[in-house]
Amino acid sequence: MFDKVSKLTKIPCKFPSLKNARQMFMECNISGHLDLDMPRDFPNVKTNSFTGGNYPTAYMFGKCPITSISFDVSTCDHCISMFNSCTQLTSCSKAVFMVGGNYQNMFSESMFDEASADIIIAAARTANVSMLHIGMNSAYRNDNFKSKHGCEQVDEGYDDQWKVTGTNIIIKWN
């Protein structure tokens, strides 16, 4: 027995259909920019393709040193915890969510800058997602947040189970 982890740096291939990708790339060295455009890279994915278990995408890229993302998950009904604990994640250039999806803990413990957080939150609002967790850098945690995004409820932090650092914002639109 030894304690090494994978040094995989790139997603090696396309997976048109994934059932239960929980922790699939967790703690791999997938770094830099991740372009996760499901309608293109997952051409046969269906709205229920991420199924199986309670949290089929939990920690799928967890703890990977990803620094920026572009994603279109409009065919994924819940991408729960997909990027959980990607603490180097600061930038997002494109965000598309499935309408009404659940993105609980998707970006917990990330460190998005203001522009990127705006893209994600606006996309989430447009799609009327049921829940979104997003970690933002401290510079963007200001009093204008509610008015800027029209959130009816903004909570800080979460329970101890997810080891939240205090930078997370839980967004709910009622």
Binding site: S6, S17, N20, Q23
Partner: protein, 150 residues
């Protein structure tokens, strides 16, 4: 390179490798015998898990036509494997039914190339193996990828 043929055992048979040296002489290798040199496998069907547990060889190259591969734990903790190739003559080899922990904890496994379409169970398939190069050009479907590359 030696040609190593894996015979599909029944429950009552002993696992056995049929190999040939460079002069064409048959050499029988028992399941747990270490072969510390590159080998290739021409397989019809692999049905037994734990087939290569802690096997001591550096390169595994599956060149046979294996219509069915059920190999949970088959290469688990193989300490000297550095490369694994599923390639060549792959006409009937398009499915891994159970790849759970198949290459888990192979401490020197750096390169894997798998040309197949369907992976039914990839749970912990490469768990804690230091993969740096992985090619899966023909994957179409993966079910159960938990911890697959973790």
């Amino acid at each position: 390179m030696l040609n190593v043929i894996f015979y599909s055992p029944t429950k009552d048979e002993e696992l056995e490798w049929k190999t040939y040296d460079v002069d064409g002489n048959e050499v029988v290798i028992k399941e747990t015998t270490a072969v510390n040199r590159p080998i290739s496998f021409a397989c019809d069907t692999m049905v037994n898990g734990d087939s290569f547990f802690a096997y001591d060889s550096s390169i595994l190259s599956f060149n046979g036509q294996m219509p069915s591969l059920v190999t949970a734990n088959s290469m688990f903790e193989c300490t000297n494997i550095t490369e694994v190739h599923f390639n060549d003559d792959m006409a009937n080899f398009n499915s891994v039914k159970n790849g759970a922990s198949m290459f888990a904890e192979c401490s020197k496994l750096k390169s894997v190339k798998i040309e197949l379409n369907t992976l039914v169970n990839g749970e912990k398939m490469f768990y804690k193996s230091p993969i740096t190069t992985l090619e899966c050009p023909s994957f179409e479907s993966v079910l159960y990828g938990q911890y697959m590359f973790s």
